[in-house]
Symmetry: C2
Subunit: 112 residues, 2 copies
DNA sequence: TTTCGTTATATCCAATCAAATATAGCGATT
DNA sequence: AATCGCTATATTTGATTGGATATAACGAAA
């Protein structure tokens, strides 16, 4: 019996998704590359999709998650704020706790 | 701050989804109506979609989840097995525990 | 043997979603 | 002023999804 239990968590604010796994992954890629377009490339998604994801985050967040610079040396870029970084940490921590919790729950169900 | 944390859980067997919220909802509707087509109507989804969902469950389950009868008085029908009913109960129980767990977790994060 | 409502399945069409492409603006550096 | 890589956005194309529709088989009961 190789049952596995999986989960996805996300955070809603006023009924709309504010943060989920895809957005957290994007924020991490932005943190690593310093640019939205580079983050999209490393994630192998279109710039458009990445831009929409980030746009949704910034539109629903009450504090800025990223700061951008357009033009200039290197063309500009996007960086995470301290708040943005804390979101990543808190989300991933909660996600891992959820997984472990569910693994324990599954152990308790031998009747499957 | 009216953040809400949401989650979806599902069970995989050999890497493919075996049971999720949509499938459980369908199984419950079948249990209530005694027929796949009636279940589809009450859920306001097409028979095709309902059939594919149930087909996926029965193809991946190691024990029969439903028993069907074709023809006869009333045209036939689909009923849950004891195993099928136990799946519903266990899944929903685990789902609710997960929600409560996450609510507690969110309480612990005041930094958001 | 005719009827009935169901299961089962194929086909066509509409809608939705995502990828690809194109274009414009930005501003520090050169 | 020219360049460069990035942000920003619209449009078009392609793929996938799901709905609607049609048809057949089934078997107990009338």
């Amino acid at each position: 019996m190789n049952y596995k239990i999986k989960s996805r968590i996300w955070i809603e604010l006023d009924g709309e998704e504010f943060l989920g796994e895809g957005k957290v992954k994007l924020l991490k890629a932005i943190d690593n590359t310093g640019s939205l377009s580079k983050a999209a490339k490393t994630m192998k998604i279109s710039y458009k999709k990445a831009w929409h994801l980030l746009d949704a985050v910034n539109n629903s967040a009450k504090k800025p998650v990223t700061v951008k610079s357009i033009g200039g040396k290197g063309g500009g870029g996007t960086k995470l704020t301290v708040y943005g970084k804390s979101l990543i940490v808190n989300f991933e921590e909660m996600n891992e706790k959820c997984w472990k919790f569910l693994d324990v729950q599954l152990e308790n169900i031998k009747s499957l």
